[in-house]
Symmetry: C2
Subunit: 358 residues, 2 copies
């Protein structure tokens, strides 16, 4: 068990931005909410899932919808607490512990705010090991664990409980209500027993964000290479380093889609890397050659500072390093690739494990 | 209290089609469902609201969505019973009695199926006195009675509970989920105490359908004028009689919009009546002169048989009589007209009470 205080949230937010793989929402505002909550209600106990009883009740909590709107509307925690309470009332049971639905992006910091405010422990882990845009994209789905019943709430006092017969349907219903609620909502979802959580949880993935954040802070403090520090902390691989020469971006259907071309510099002088995104970076190619693809993690950081770069911050002239980080092995199964592999997102390429690409 | 058996449903379905005012969904399939339920589970007790205790719990039950799809999917009552159960579970209370949300169209017969299957009484009344296309269009809204929490269910086992802070928001959320659920769903909504129901209910409006249906049957049996029989039973006024000369119709946004022109015959030889509809007939004009408009009821029936004619059945050459029936007085208040008057539906005309028009 770790005690997470307001200072630790700085590291988690930075690590969460790296692991947000270009999308997932900026953890910054979630961090402020969490820090406020911690100052008021106390530190958060980040616990190991093994310490949970098998009959414990766990909820995922977080924001759903367009990250930019989530961030604009994150003035208050009240809707998130309303969503938790609505799901508790619906189930007729109190929740034992909270968990993050994704270890990366905005939802890596928001759960700390709820955990502090409600005096509940937060699990050190998540069921994805990164950020993904749709709620059925979770190892829970692969384990047959239902996202339903789930509760959504907005800041106007509206709440909706969805009980869908499968997780893709839950996503579809939740997306419609999210749009009706103004584009972003808070949710409490995937109510699970302790025994179920133990099947689906990627252990230590929240600590991993903390470690990545502190590794970056330390490197900066010591004037060491931040990219090397991140590679060490993440077990990732440097795919490319260069200068952004063009960015194409289109917004539609609740997503930002496009690609950035990065002309190689230094040891990568020979080639240009194309980074395709749909919110998250999904595919890194040099010509026809796939260097990395979803579900593996593709992260872009500023070459000098190690500062994570989202798809929205990509712009001409930026010097970036592109890292590839292996995803959890469960994502590389046939079922995992069907749920979140490149073809799901419309890229007609085979998945190549990032550690094997050349 | 009246005992409603399978034969009575024939009359209620016919009366419900007249009071469907051209939209509201054909009560035919709801009638079959109700008759099946009654044969299996027994007759329905149609009770006066005054016999309810003030702390009784009442739900509206019915179909939501495009009537044509509702009708296609009405193979089974199970989703409606699931919706009732989901709302009961959510409220932690058993329902005492059911009510129809609209006395007209499909939802005048469906509640009988649920009442029989669940062994519950059905109120002789409704909170509209006709059919309207959106769920906030109810005297409940004028009385400050919430449509929420409400439960929707489909035939795949999905259910959703909506708790919206006002009835227009409930309509918006329910409409989205209805589209996600395939265009039509069953719902249990407007959970009310006996005391609340007494404030909003139009008494006897289900009996009125029964009476109108039997009046038509009797007229046909005696070879009497069915239009005269309907006028007597409804307290309505004959606005026009003639031949349909043109129909324009467009489907979009979940509605059928358009108008039918009816060239006058007999005593109406001088003029052409234009009947505008958005599912329901909303406006009857001769030139610039408004003869009747929503929220008053405009009904079209076959001149020979008295058979009700929906907007979808309007076609060239049909001989029709157009009847205007006064709505409940509460609809003629400023608030009532704001909720369901001609301007709400985009017609820039003043409401003229049908009994005063010339």
């Amino acid at each position: 068990m770790k005690i997470i205080d307001a200072a630790d949230l700085e590291a988690i937010a930075l690590g969460g931005a790296v692991y947000g793989t270009g999308g997932g929402g900026d953890p910054y505002i979630g961090k402020l909410l969490a820090q406020n909550a911690i100052r008021k209600s106390g530190s958060v106990h980040l616990i190991d899932v093994e310490s949970l009883a098998d009959d414990a009740l766990v909820f995922e909590v977080g924001g759903i919808g367009a990250p930019t709107i989530v961030i604009e509307r994150l003035a208050s925690l009240a809707p998130l607490l309303n969503a938790v309470e609505a799901l508790e009332t619906h189930l007729g049971r109190r929740v034992t512990a909270l968990m993050s639905g994704e270890a990366g992006g905005l939802n890596s910091t928001i759960p700390f705010a709820a955990a502090s405010a409600l005096g509940l422990p937060l699990l050190d882990g998540d069921p994805i090991g990164r950020a993904f845009p749709e709620l059925q994209m979770s190892l829970c789905t692969l384990q047959g664990i239902a996202a339903s019943p789930l509760a959504l709430a907005d800041e106007k006092g509206n709440s909706v409980i969805i009980d869908a017969h499968n997780n893709a349907t839950a996503e579809r219903f939740a997306r419609s209500i999210t749009i009706d609620m103004g584009g972003s909502v808070f949710g409490a979802l995937y109510p699970m027993s302790g025994a179920q959580v133990k099947k689906a949880l990627i252990r230590g993935s929240i600590s991993r964000l903390l470690d990545a954040g502190y590794a970056l802070f330390n490197a900066r403090a010591k004037h060491a290479d931040p990219v090397q520090a991140l590679l060490q902390a993440s077990g990732g691989r440097l795919l490319h380093a260069g200068k952004v020469t063009s960015v194409e971006r289109a917004t539609g259907g609740g997503f930002v889609r496009g690609h950035a071309d990065i002309e190689g510099l230094d040891g990568y002088a020979g080639g240009c890397l194309r980074l395709s995104f749909q919110n998250e970076f999904l595919l890194a190619r040099r010509g026809d050659r796939v260097l990395a693809s979803t579900p593996d993690l593709i992260c872009a950081v500023d070459s000098e500072t190690g500062e994570p770069i989202t798809n929205e911050k990509m712009r001409f002239g930026l010097r970036v390093a592109v890292l590839g980080i292996p995803c959890d092995a469960a994502w590389r199964s046939d079922a995992g690739l069907a749920l979140a592999g490149p073809r799901y997102f419309g890229h007609d390429v085979d998945f190549v494990p990032v550690e094997l690409s050349r």
